[in-house]
Symmetry: C2
Subunit: 252 residues, 2 copies
Protein backbone atom coordinates (compact mmCIF):
# COMPACT_ATOMS: atom_id res chain seq x y z
CA UNK A 1 0.00 0.00 0.00
CA UNK A 2 1.56 3.28 -1.05
CA UNK A 3 1.93 6.22 1.32
CA UNK A 4 -0.93 8.69 1.17
CA UNK A 5 0.88 11.85 2.03
CA UNK A 6 3.29 12.05 -0.86
CA UNK A 7 0.75 13.51 -3.24
CA UNK A 8 0.13 17.11 -4.23
CA UNK A 9 -1.17 19.62 -1.75
CA UNK A 10 -4.79 18.86 -1.20
CA UNK A 11 -5.37 20.37 2.20
CA UNK A 12 -7.67 23.16 3.10
CA UNK A 13 -4.58 25.14 3.97
CA UNK A 14 -3.84 25.77 0.34
CA UNK A 15 -7.38 26.94 -0.23
CA UNK A 16 -7.14 29.27 2.71
CA UNK A 17 -3.94 30.82 1.45
CA UNK A 18 -5.24 31.29 -2.07
CA UNK A 19 -8.47 32.75 -0.83
CA UNK A 20 -6.57 35.12 1.43
CA UNK A 21 -4.36 36.25 -1.43
CA UNK A 22 -7.43 36.89 -3.56
CA UNK A 23 -9.14 38.78 -0.78
CA UNK A 24 -6.16 40.96 -0.01
CA UNK A 25 -4.90 41.40 -3.53
CA UNK A 26 -8.29 41.89 -5.09
CA UNK A 27 -9.32 41.01 -8.60
CA UNK A 28 -6.63 43.32 -9.88
CA UNK A 29 -4.15 40.75 -8.58
CA UNK A 30 -1.98 43.18 -6.76
CA UNK A 31 0.98 41.77 -4.92
CA UNK A 32 0.30 40.65 -1.38
CA UNK A 33 2.94 40.65 1.32
CA UNK A 34 3.73 37.81 3.70
CA UNK A 35 2.95 39.97 6.67
CA UNK A 36 -0.49 40.91 5.41
CA UNK A 37 -1.24 37.26 4.78
CA UNK A 38 0.06 36.29 8.19
CA UNK A 39 -2.21 38.79 9.86
CA UNK A 40 -5.20 37.83 7.74
CA UNK A 41 -4.73 34.11 8.34
CA UNK A 42 -3.87 34.34 12.01
CA UNK A 43 -0.53 32.71 11.44
CA UNK A 44 3.08 33.76 11.84
CA UNK A 45 4.86 35.39 8.94
CA UNK A 46 7.46 32.62 8.92
CA UNK A 47 4.73 30.06 8.32
CA UNK A 48 3.46 32.09 5.41
CA UNK A 49 6.85 32.20 3.72
CA UNK A 50 7.11 28.44 3.88
CA UNK A 51 3.70 27.94 2.37
CA UNK A 52 4.21 30.53 -0.35
CA UNK A 53 7.37 28.78 -1.46
CA UNK A 54 5.45 25.54 -1.66
CA UNK A 55 2.58 27.13 -3.57
CA UNK A 56 5.05 28.60 -6.04
CA UNK A 57 6.72 25.21 -6.45
CA UNK A 58 3.50 23.43 -7.41
CA UNK A 59 3.04 22.35 -10.97
CA UNK A 60 1.29 24.29 -12.21
CA UNK A 61 2.25 27.00 -9.72
CA UNK A 62 -0.58 28.66 -7.85
CA UNK A 63 1.35 31.86 -7.17
CA UNK A 64 4.20 33.87 -8.57
CA UNK A 65 6.48 34.56 -5.69
CA UNK A 66 9.44 36.89 -5.43
CA UNK A 67 11.21 37.01 -2.13
CA UNK A 68 10.76 40.15 -0.16
CA UNK A 69 8.19 41.35 -2.70
CA UNK A 70 5.11 39.35 -1.97
CA UNK A 71 3.03 37.07 -4.17
CA UNK A 72 0.52 37.33 -6.94
CA UNK A 73 -1.91 34.64 -8.04
CA UNK A 74 -1.27 32.80 -11.29
CA UNK A 75 -4.20 31.96 -13.53
CA UNK A 76 -4.40 28.53 -11.88
CA UNK A 77 -4.27 30.01 -8.42
CA UNK A 78 -6.88 32.58 -9.21
CA UNK A 79 -9.16 29.93 -10.65
CA UNK A 80 -8.82 27.80 -7.55
CA UNK A 81 -9.40 30.76 -5.24
CA UNK A 82 -12.52 31.75 -7.15
CA UNK A 83 -13.80 28.20 -6.91
CA UNK A 84 -13.49 28.27 -3.16
CA UNK A 85 -15.10 31.71 -3.04
CA UNK A 86 -17.97 30.37 -5.14
CA UNK A 87 -18.37 27.47 -2.74
CA UNK A 88 -18.42 29.83 0.20
CA UNK A 89 -21.01 32.20 -1.19
CA UNK A 90 -23.23 29.48 -2.62
CA UNK A 91 -23.18 27.74 0.73
CA UNK A 92 -24.10 30.95 2.51
CA UNK A 93 -27.04 31.49 0.21
CA UNK A 94 -28.09 27.85 0.58
CA UNK A 95 -27.87 27.80 4.36
CA UNK A 96 -29.79 31.04 4.48
CA UNK A 97 -32.53 30.24 1.98
CA UNK A 98 -33.04 26.54 2.60
CA UNK A 99 -31.94 25.80 6.11
CA UNK A 100 -33.22 28.82 7.97
CA UNK A 101 -29.85 30.19 8.92
CA UNK A 102 -29.85 33.90 9.70
CA UNK A 103 -27.32 35.95 7.80
CA UNK A 104 -25.12 36.31 10.85
CA UNK A 105 -24.82 32.52 11.22
CA UNK A 106 -23.92 31.47 7.70
CA UNK A 107 -20.31 32.56 7.53
CA UNK A 108 -18.71 30.16 9.97
CA UNK A 109 -20.55 27.11 8.67
CA UNK A 110 -19.74 28.01 5.06
CA UNK A 111 -16.13 28.69 5.94
CA UNK A 112 -15.74 25.13 7.13
CA UNK A 113 -17.71 23.38 4.43
CA UNK A 114 -16.37 25.28 1.44
CA UNK A 115 -13.31 23.07 1.34
CA UNK A 116 -15.13 19.79 1.19
CA UNK A 117 -18.07 20.04 -1.16
CA UNK A 118 -17.64 18.35 -4.53
CA UNK A 119 -18.26 20.00 -7.87
CA UNK A 120 -21.35 17.86 -8.10
CA UNK A 121 -22.75 19.19 -4.83
CA UNK A 122 -21.80 22.70 -5.88
CA UNK A 123 -23.81 22.25 -9.07
CA UNK A 124 -26.80 20.75 -7.29
CA UNK A 125 -26.90 23.54 -4.76
CA UNK A 126 -26.61 26.16 -7.50
CA UNK A 127 -29.41 24.47 -9.44
CA UNK A 128 -31.63 24.24 -6.37
CA UNK A 129 -31.11 27.95 -5.78
CA UNK A 130 -31.65 28.87 -9.42
CA UNK A 131 -28.08 30.04 -9.97
CA UNK A 132 -28.17 32.98 -7.58
CA UNK A 133 -26.00 36.00 -8.26
CA UNK A 134 -25.32 37.06 -4.71
CA UNK A 135 -24.91 35.63 -1.23
CA UNK A 136 -27.11 36.85 1.65
CA UNK A 137 -24.72 39.72 2.34
CA UNK A 138 -24.92 40.98 -1.22
CA UNK A 139 -21.56 39.71 -2.44
CA UNK A 140 -21.42 38.47 -6.00
CA UNK A 141 -21.04 34.75 -6.50
CA UNK A 142 -18.37 33.86 -9.05
CA UNK A 143 -19.66 31.81 -11.94
CA UNK A 144 -18.46 28.24 -12.46
CA UNK A 145 -16.17 29.55 -15.16
CA UNK A 146 -14.51 31.81 -12.62
CA UNK A 147 -16.12 34.94 -14.00
CA UNK A 148 -16.78 37.54 -11.34
CA UNK A 149 -18.19 40.87 -12.53
CA UNK A 150 -16.56 43.95 -11.07
CA UNK A 151 -18.76 46.34 -9.15
CA UNK A 152 -17.84 49.85 -8.14
CA UNK A 153 -18.53 49.56 -4.47
CA UNK A 154 -17.51 52.19 -1.94
CA UNK A 155 -17.51 51.89 1.81
CA UNK A 156 -20.36 53.84 3.35
CA UNK A 157 -17.85 55.45 5.67
CA UNK A 158 -16.23 57.04 2.59
CA UNK A 159 -19.38 57.99 0.74
CA UNK A 160 -20.20 61.65 0.28
CA UNK A 161 -22.83 63.30 2.42
CA UNK A 162 -26.13 63.99 0.77
CA UNK A 163 -25.58 61.70 -2.20
CA UNK A 164 -28.16 58.96 -2.55
CA UNK A 165 -26.75 55.44 -2.33
CA UNK A 166 -27.95 51.85 -2.24
CA UNK A 167 -26.42 49.22 -0.04
CA UNK A 168 -24.76 46.66 -2.30
CA UNK A 169 -23.14 44.42 0.28
CA UNK A 170 -22.18 44.15 3.91
CA UNK A 171 -19.25 42.44 5.56
CA UNK A 172 -20.09 38.96 6.81
CA UNK A 173 -17.28 38.80 9.31
CA UNK A 174 -18.92 40.25 12.41
CA UNK A 175 -22.13 38.49 13.50
CA UNK A 176 -22.93 41.10 16.14
CA UNK A 177 -22.67 43.87 13.55
CA UNK A 178 -24.95 41.90 11.25
CA UNK A 179 -27.57 41.56 13.97
CA UNK A 180 -27.35 45.29 14.57
CA UNK A 181 -27.86 45.93 10.88
CA UNK A 182 -30.91 43.71 10.91
CA UNK A 183 -32.31 45.75 13.76
CA UNK A 184 -31.77 48.94 11.76
CA UNK A 185 -33.15 47.52 8.54
CA UNK A 186 -29.80 47.76 6.79
CA UNK A 187 -29.42 45.18 4.07
CA UNK A 188 -28.50 44.99 0.39
CA UNK A 189 -30.92 46.92 -1.80
CA UNK A 190 -31.89 49.39 0.88
CA UNK A 191 -31.44 53.07 0.01
CA UNK A 192 -29.34 55.12 2.37
CA UNK A 193 -28.15 58.70 2.56
CA UNK A 194 -25.47 60.12 4.79
CA UNK A 195 -26.63 63.37 6.34
CA UNK A 196 -23.62 64.29 8.44
CA UNK A 197 -20.54 62.46 9.45
CA UNK A 198 -16.87 62.73 10.29
CA UNK A 199 -14.29 60.10 9.66
CA UNK A 200 -13.68 59.39 13.31
CA UNK A 201 -17.03 59.61 15.02
CA UNK A 202 -20.42 58.34 13.95
CA UNK A 203 -22.50 59.12 10.91
CA UNK A 204 -26.04 60.35 10.80
CA UNK A 205 -27.89 58.59 8.03
CA UNK A 206 -31.37 58.33 6.57
CA UNK A 207 -32.38 54.72 5.89
CA UNK A 208 -34.89 53.67 3.25
CA UNK A 209 -38.38 55.08 3.63
CA UNK A 210 -37.71 56.25 7.14
CA UNK A 211 -38.57 59.85 7.91
CA UNK A 212 -36.16 60.24 10.82
CA UNK A 213 -32.41 59.71 10.67
CA UNK A 214 -30.20 57.35 12.66
CA UNK A 215 -26.74 57.37 14.24
CA UNK A 216 -24.36 54.83 12.75
CA UNK A 217 -21.03 54.01 14.36
CA UNK A 218 -17.97 54.30 12.18
CA UNK A 219 -17.37 50.58 12.71
CA UNK A 220 -20.77 49.65 11.37
CA UNK A 221 -20.40 52.04 8.45
CA UNK A 222 -17.09 50.40 7.54
CA UNK A 223 -18.87 47.10 7.14
CA UNK A 224 -21.28 48.45 4.55
CA UNK A 225 -20.54 48.93 0.87
CA UNK A 226 -22.75 51.05 -1.32
CA UNK A 227 -23.15 51.94 -4.96
CA UNK A 228 -24.71 54.94 -6.69
CA UNK A 229 -28.25 55.43 -5.52
CA UNK A 230 -31.56 54.85 -7.24
CA UNK A 231 -32.10 58.49 -8.24
CA UNK A 232 -30.08 58.41 -11.38
CA UNK A 233 -26.36 58.45 -11.94
CA UNK A 234 -25.15 60.02 -8.74
CA UNK A 235 -21.39 59.84 -8.55
CA UNK A 236 -19.45 59.47 -5.36
CA UNK A 237 -17.39 62.55 -4.63
CA UNK A 238 -15.06 61.47 -1.88
CA UNK A 239 -13.78 58.16 -3.06
CA UNK A 240 -11.11 58.27 -5.70
CA UNK A 241 -10.77 55.27 -7.95
CA UNK A 242 -8.07 53.78 -5.79
CA UNK A 243 -10.31 53.72 -2.77
CA UNK A 244 -13.09 52.29 -4.87
CA UNK A 245 -10.76 49.51 -5.90
CA UNK A 246 -9.82 48.92 -2.31
CA UNK A 247 -13.46 48.54 -1.38
CA UNK A 248 -14.09 46.16 -4.24
CA UNK A 249 -11.03 44.21 -3.24
CA UNK A 250 -12.19 43.64 0.29
CA UNK A 251 -13.81 40.34 -0.61
CA UNK A 252 -15.45 38.72 2.40
Amino acid sequence: MPPRNHGPYTTESVDDYLKAILELGGLAEERVTSNALAQHLGVRAASVTGMLQKLAAQKPPFVKYEKHHGVRLTAAGKMRALEVLRHHRLLERFLHDFLDYSWDEVHDEAERLEHFISEQLEDRIAAKLGDPETDPHGHLIPERSGALPAREEVLLSKWACGVAAVISSVSDRDPAALREMTRLGLKPGVAITVETGTRNASLRVRIGERSDSVRLSQMLASGISVIAGPNGRARNLLADSHEANQAESRLP
Copy 2:
Protein backbone atom coordinates in the same frame (compact mmCIF):
# COMPACT_ATOMS: atom_id res chain seq x y z
CA MET B 1 0.11 33.63 19.27
CA PRO B 2 -0.10 30.13 20.68
CA PRO B 3 0.53 27.01 18.57
CA ARG B 4 -2.61 25.48 17.11
CA ASN B 5 -1.64 21.86 17.02
CA HIS B 6 -1.08 21.21 20.68
CA GLY B 7 -4.75 20.71 21.42
CA PRO B 8 -6.82 17.55 21.71
CA TYR B 9 -7.42 15.28 18.78
CA THR B 10 -9.88 17.04 16.54
CA THR B 11 -9.11 15.47 13.20
CA GLU B 12 -11.40 13.43 11.06
CA SER B 13 -9.03 10.54 11.67
CA VAL B 14 -10.41 10.02 15.14
CA ASP B 15 -13.93 9.98 13.78
CA ASP B 16 -12.98 7.47 11.17
CA TYR B 17 -11.42 5.16 13.72
CA LEU B 18 -14.36 5.37 16.09
CA LYS B 19 -16.82 4.82 13.30
CA ALA B 20 -14.84 1.84 12.09
CA ILE B 21 -14.78 0.35 15.57
CA LEU B 22 -18.52 0.79 15.85
CA GLU B 23 -19.08 -0.72 12.44
CA LEU B 24 -16.91 -3.74 13.08
CA GLY B 25 -17.78 -4.25 16.71
CA GLY B 26 -21.46 -3.60 16.31
CA LEU B 27 -23.80 -2.18 18.90
CA ALA B 28 -22.91 -5.07 21.16
CA GLU B 29 -19.50 -3.44 21.48
CA GLU B 30 -17.53 -6.54 20.80
CA ARG B 31 -13.78 -6.20 20.79
CA VAL B 32 -12.26 -5.25 17.48
CA THR B 33 -8.76 -6.26 16.44
CA SER B 34 -6.11 -3.97 15.00
CA ASN B 35 -5.93 -6.00 11.84
CA ALA B 36 -9.62 -5.79 11.17
CA LEU B 37 -9.47 -2.05 11.65
CA ALA B 38 -6.44 -1.77 9.42
CA GLN B 39 -8.20 -3.60 6.63
CA HIS B 40 -11.39 -1.63 7.09
CA LEU B 41 -9.63 1.72 7.12
CA GLY B 42 -7.17 0.96 4.37
CA VAL B 43 -4.16 1.62 6.56
CA ARG B 44 -1.41 -0.53 7.98
CA ALA B 45 -1.91 -2.40 11.22
CA ALA B 46 1.03 -0.53 12.73
CA SER B 47 -0.73 2.75 12.13
CA VAL B 48 -3.81 1.42 13.85
CA THR B 49 -1.90 0.48 16.98
CA GLY B 50 -0.51 3.96 17.27
CA MET B 51 -3.89 5.57 16.95
CA LEU B 52 -5.58 3.15 19.34
CA GLN B 53 -3.03 3.99 21.99
CA LYS B 54 -3.73 7.65 21.49
CA LEU B 55 -7.48 7.14 21.60
CA ALA B 56 -7.13 5.21 24.84
CA ALA B 57 -4.96 7.97 26.30
CA GLN B 58 -7.54 10.69 25.67
CA LYS B 59 -9.37 12.16 28.59
CA PRO B 60 -11.98 10.93 28.65
CA PRO B 61 -10.76 7.86 26.76
CA PHE B 62 -12.64 6.96 23.60
CA VAL B 63 -11.67 3.31 23.72
CA LYS B 64 -10.64 0.65 26.18
CA TYR B 65 -7.55 -0.94 24.76
CA GLU B 66 -5.69 -4.06 25.84
CA LYS B 67 -2.67 -5.00 23.81
CA HIS B 68 -3.05 -8.03 21.64
CA HIS B 69 -6.73 -8.14 22.50
CA GLY B 70 -8.23 -5.36 20.46
CA VAL B 71 -10.35 -2.41 21.52
CA ARG B 72 -13.84 -1.69 22.66
CA LEU B 73 -15.57 1.68 22.62
CA THR B 74 -16.11 3.51 25.90
CA ALA B 75 -19.37 5.34 26.45
CA ALA B 76 -17.72 8.53 25.22
CA GLY B 77 -16.32 6.82 22.16
CA LYS B 78 -19.62 5.17 21.33
CA MET B 79 -21.41 8.48 21.65
CA ARG B 80 -18.98 10.18 19.31
CA ALA B 81 -19.17 7.34 16.80
CA LEU B 82 -22.95 7.45 16.81
CA GLU B 83 -22.86 11.19 16.26
CA VAL B 84 -20.76 10.73 13.17
CA LEU B 85 -23.00 7.92 11.99
CA ARG B 86 -26.01 10.18 12.47
CA HIS B 87 -24.31 12.87 10.43
CA HIS B 88 -23.56 10.41 7.69
CA ARG B 89 -27.04 9.00 7.39
CA LEU B 90 -28.79 12.35 7.74
CA LEU B 91 -26.58 13.74 5.01
CA GLU B 92 -27.36 10.79 2.76
CA ARG B 93 -31.07 11.31 3.22
CA PHE B 94 -30.69 15.05 2.67
CA LEU B 95 -28.61 14.75 -0.47
CA HIS B 96 -31.05 12.19 -1.81
CA ASP B 97 -34.30 13.93 -0.94
CA PHE B 98 -33.35 17.57 -1.44
CA LEU B 99 -30.50 17.69 -3.87
CA ASP B 100 -31.48 15.04 -6.35
CA TYR B 101 -28.64 12.68 -5.60
CA SER B 102 -29.31 9.08 -6.58
CA TRP B 103 -28.78 6.52 -3.84
CA ASP B 104 -25.55 5.33 -5.37
CA GLU B 105 -24.05 8.83 -5.24
CA VAL B 106 -24.79 9.84 -1.68
CA HIS B 107 -22.21 7.77 0.20
CA ASP B 108 -18.99 9.42 -0.93
CA GLU B 109 -20.28 12.94 -0.48
CA ALA B 110 -21.68 12.15 2.97
CA GLU B 111 -18.49 10.39 3.97
CA ARG B 112 -16.55 13.58 3.39
CA LEU B 113 -19.00 16.03 4.88
CA GLU B 114 -19.96 14.06 7.99
CA HIS B 115 -16.85 15.30 9.79
CA PHE B 116 -17.49 18.96 9.25
CA ILE B 117 -21.13 19.76 9.80
CA SER B 118 -21.98 21.54 13.04
CA GLU B 119 -24.61 20.39 15.48
CA GLN B 120 -26.64 23.35 14.31
CA LEU B 121 -26.55 22.22 10.70
CA GLU B 122 -27.30 18.67 11.80
CA ASP B 123 -30.42 19.94 13.57
CA ARG B 124 -31.54 22.09 10.67
CA ILE B 125 -31.15 19.24 8.23
CA ALA B 126 -33.04 16.88 10.51
CA ALA B 127 -35.80 19.45 10.92
CA LYS B 128 -36.02 20.06 7.19
CA LEU B 129 -36.38 16.33 6.64
CA GLY B 130 -38.89 15.88 9.43
CA ASP B 131 -36.60 13.78 11.59
CA PRO B 132 -36.31 10.81 9.26
CA GLU B 133 -35.74 7.35 10.67
CA THR B 134 -33.69 5.87 7.86
CA ASP B 135 -31.22 6.85 5.18
CA PRO B 136 -31.92 6.10 1.50
CA HIS B 137 -30.46 2.61 1.88
CA GLY B 138 -32.74 1.74 4.75
CA HIS B 139 -30.25 2.09 7.58
CA LEU B 140 -31.57 3.50 10.81
CA ILE B 141 -30.45 6.99 11.74
CA PRO B 142 -29.29 7.27 15.36
CA GLU B 143 -31.20 9.83 17.37
CA ARG B 144 -29.46 12.92 18.69
CA SER B 145 -29.33 11.22 22.07
CA GLY B 146 -27.33 8.40 20.53
CA ALA B 147 -30.24 5.98 20.66
CA LEU B 148 -30.17 3.48 17.82
CA PRO B 149 -32.88 0.79 17.88
CA ALA B 150 -31.66 -2.74 17.17
CA ARG B 151 -33.17 -4.55 14.24
CA GLU B 152 -32.87 -8.24 13.54
CA GLU B 153 -31.54 -8.05 10.04
CA VAL B 154 -30.15 -11.03 8.17
CA LEU B 155 -28.20 -11.02 4.94
CA LEU B 156 -30.32 -12.20 2.05
CA SER B 157 -27.54 -14.61 1.17
CA LYS B 158 -28.18 -16.34 4.50
CA TRP B 159 -31.95 -16.23 4.44
CA ALA B 160 -33.84 -19.50 4.14
CA CYS B 161 -35.37 -20.50 0.82
CA GLY B 162 -39.12 -20.12 0.55
CA VAL B 163 -39.50 -17.86 3.56
CA ALA B 164 -41.05 -14.50 2.80
CA ALA B 165 -38.82 -11.53 3.62
CA VAL B 166 -38.75 -7.78 3.22
CA ILE B 167 -35.65 -5.83 2.31
CA SER B 168 -34.74 -3.69 5.30
CA SER B 169 -31.50 -2.19 4.07
CA VAL B 170 -28.82 -2.46 1.44
CA SER B 171 -25.11 -1.77 1.63
CA ASP B 172 -24.20 1.70 0.39
CA ARG B 173 -20.61 0.86 -0.36
CA ASP B 174 -20.80 -0.29 -3.94
CA PRO B 175 -22.39 2.21 -6.34
CA ALA B 176 -22.46 -0.27 -9.22
CA ALA B 177 -24.32 -2.79 -7.08
CA LEU B 178 -26.79 -0.09 -6.09
CA ARG B 179 -27.47 0.76 -9.71
CA GLU B 180 -28.01 -2.90 -10.42
CA MET B 181 -30.47 -3.10 -7.54
CA THR B 182 -32.33 -0.10 -8.92
CA ARG B 183 -32.61 -1.89 -12.23
CA LEU B 184 -34.07 -4.95 -10.50
CA GLY B 185 -36.43 -2.96 -8.32
CA LEU B 186 -34.63 -3.99 -5.16
CA LYS B 187 -34.95 -1.42 -2.40
CA PRO B 188 -35.99 -1.21 1.23
CA GLY B 189 -39.59 -2.23 1.76
CA VAL B 190 -39.74 -4.54 -1.24
CA ALA B 191 -40.82 -8.13 -0.56
CA ILE B 192 -38.48 -10.83 -1.70
CA THR B 193 -38.41 -14.63 -1.56
CA VAL B 194 -35.49 -16.89 -2.27
CA GLU B 195 -36.57 -19.81 -4.44
CA THR B 196 -33.29 -21.68 -4.80
CA GLY B 197 -29.75 -20.84 -3.92
CA THR B 198 -26.39 -22.16 -2.87
CA ARG B 199 -23.84 -20.35 -0.82
CA ASN B 200 -21.33 -20.09 -3.61
CA ALA B 201 -23.31 -19.52 -6.76
CA SER B 202 -26.26 -17.28 -7.48
CA LEU B 203 -29.73 -17.21 -5.97
CA ARG B 204 -33.01 -17.38 -7.75
CA VAL B 205 -35.44 -14.97 -6.14
CA ARG B 206 -38.92 -13.66 -6.64
CA ILE B 207 -39.11 -9.88 -6.23
CA GLY B 208 -42.20 -7.98 -5.13
CA GLU B 209 -45.23 -8.37 -7.35
CA ARG B 210 -43.24 -9.95 -10.13
CA SER B 211 -44.54 -13.23 -11.51
CA ASP B 212 -41.22 -14.47 -12.85
CA SER B 213 -38.06 -15.00 -10.81
CA VAL B 214 -34.65 -13.48 -11.21
CA ARG B 215 -31.03 -14.61 -10.83
CA LEU B 216 -29.15 -12.73 -8.14
CA SER B 217 -25.38 -12.97 -7.80
CA GLN B 218 -24.05 -13.97 -4.41
CA MET B 219 -22.27 -10.62 -4.27
CA LEU B 220 -25.45 -8.67 -4.74
CA ALA B 221 -27.27 -10.85 -2.20
CA SER B 222 -24.56 -10.13 0.36
CA GLY B 223 -25.30 -6.44 0.08
CA ILE B 224 -28.95 -6.86 0.99
CA SER B 225 -30.32 -7.26 4.49
CA VAL B 226 -33.81 -8.53 5.09
CA ILE B 227 -36.22 -9.00 7.96
CA ALA B 228 -39.17 -11.31 8.42
CA GLY B 229 -41.63 -10.94 5.57
CA PRO B 230 -45.04 -9.33 5.46
CA ASN B 231 -46.95 -12.61 5.69
CA GLY B 232 -46.87 -12.94 9.44
CA ARG B 233 -44.15 -14.03 11.78
CA ALA B 234 -41.95 -16.07 9.50
CA ARG B 235 -38.70 -16.93 11.24
CA ASN B 236 -35.43 -17.31 9.48
CA LEU B 237 -34.25 -20.92 9.56
CA LEU B 238 -30.66 -20.76 8.49
CA ALA B 239 -29.33 -17.86 10.40
CA ASP B 240 -28.44 -18.50 13.99
CA SER B 241 -28.41 -15.57 16.34
CA HIS B 242 -24.69 -15.06 15.88
CA GLU B 243 -25.06 -14.61 12.18
CA ALA B 244 -27.99 -12.29 12.76
CA ASN B 245 -25.82 -10.22 15.02
CA GLN B 246 -23.10 -10.16 12.41
CA ALA B 247 -25.52 -8.82 9.86
CA GLU B 248 -26.80 -6.19 12.25
CA SER B 249 -23.25 -5.24 13.03
CA ARG B 250 -22.34 -4.61 9.45
CA LEU B 251 -23.21 -0.95 9.75
CA PRO B 252 -22.60 0.89 6.48
